[in-house]
Symmetry: C2
Subunit: 204 residues, 2 copies
DNA sequence: TGTCGTTCTTATCCTAAGTCAATGGATTAA
DNA sequence: TTAATCCATTGACTTAGGATAAGAACGACA
């Protein structure tokens, strides 16, 4: 099998993507780019693997390169899905180096998944050496915050059927990548209800 | 009336609070503190005033000193409340200097309210001169993002009655400061339903 | 004091979603 | 190939919440 060389090539592709991304926000020498990129790791996970469990002290932030990660809470023994992270989306560590709070949720791979990983310590190191990257990070945090505000607002202002139609419109690929009962939970209804909603829409 | 001197005193108090806050994250000279604080304005609004309307290009971030701000969307002529900002909470501008998107929501004063205000340009100026403050900002953005993730997760995993009980537990003061029909909308139900929920809980 | 507007509550009826149980299809494992 | 498992669908029944309309409580204010 050409497995290890395949992996090698893929990782090199990702690293050069990262270099390109950093080059866009500031002018760095090749050595500096090396240093920055070397603070970031790349990890592969298999379908079903858990990145994080309730109670863990999350000290890493991730970004999805390929694949799909599901965030869920365990409430009365039931999995309540609250988000799906796909290509290009970031998962920020829920705590900082100063305050370490155990996670209340799980992160599980819906598919085989490749992620970039950066530890909290490396993150600080990176900002110390390359302040431009802290600006970049602040900006993407502000955007991400804005996204979440919109998602919350959207959730409050719509009913399950509207939410399903929204999903169909804005993230249609999810419907094929994710089992329906997980989608249902994400939309805030039971699997049975989602089935009925789909039927209702189909008839219309 | 001692109105203008009252106001003066209040503003001085707020400014000294800000100096204290900045001093905690880095060592600044008095002149530097002056410079930083002078980039931030203080504004008073009356109950009912609108800070922001749908379609506006928000170029300011706020923090509530005293009072209460309601965020709401107008959907089919109906106000859908999506958040209440009270003392100590920040309202981040939904867009950056680069991308200017018109706001989709309104910000309205539930009570007479005093806010600190910083424009996007002053924000950049501040980070340029005092990089420590950019770290501070990044950290609070990360915390705020985490808050929103939890709020969304909480909204997805609970029903209206549970959400009301949560509010009772975590922000009880809101129940007295905000009219019930606005709370209802925030909880994702009609005013009539919230009335029934309250009755149900009271009987138990 | 009485009137008006706003907010909250109550009643009725209807619909959407939850619950429980059963079925059938699809995929995987033996 | 046959079980076994997982998942989506359907049906019957219950319940919470939406829509509408009407009345009660409250406060502002002339």
């Amino acid at each position: 099998m050409a497995d290890s060389s395949d992996k090698k090539i893929a990782i090199d592709t990702i690293k050069s993507e990262m270099r390109k991304c950093f080059s866009e926000v500031g002018s760095f020498s090749d050595l500096e780019l090396d240093a920055a990129v070397n603070l970031i790791g790349i990890k592969k996970f298999q379908k079903g693997e858990l990145l994080l469990s309730e109670g863990d002290n999350a000290a890493q932030s991730y970004a999805v390169v390929t694949g799909c990660i599901r965030q869920y809470y365990l409430v009365d023994g039931e999995e309540k899905t609250t988000f799906f992270y796909t290509e290009g989306q970031s998962i920020f560590a829920p705590n900082s180096t100063s305050n370490r709070i155990p996670a209340k949720y799980y992160l599980s791979c819906v598919e085989d998944t490749t992620l970039t990983v950066i530890t909290l310590t490396n993150q600080l190191e990176m900002y110390r050496r390359f302040p431009m990257l802290e600006s970049l990070s602040r900006n993407s945090l502000q955007e991400e915050l804005h996204n979440y505000q919109e998602m919350l607002a959207n959730y409050i202002t719509t009913n399950p059927e509207e939410r399903y139609l929204n999903l169909l419109k804005h993230r249609p690929e999810l419907l094929h990548r994710v089992p329906q009962y997980q989608l249902a939970s994400y939309l805030g209804v039971t699997a049975e209800s989602l089935s009925r909603i789909r039927k209702r829409i189909f008839i219309k």
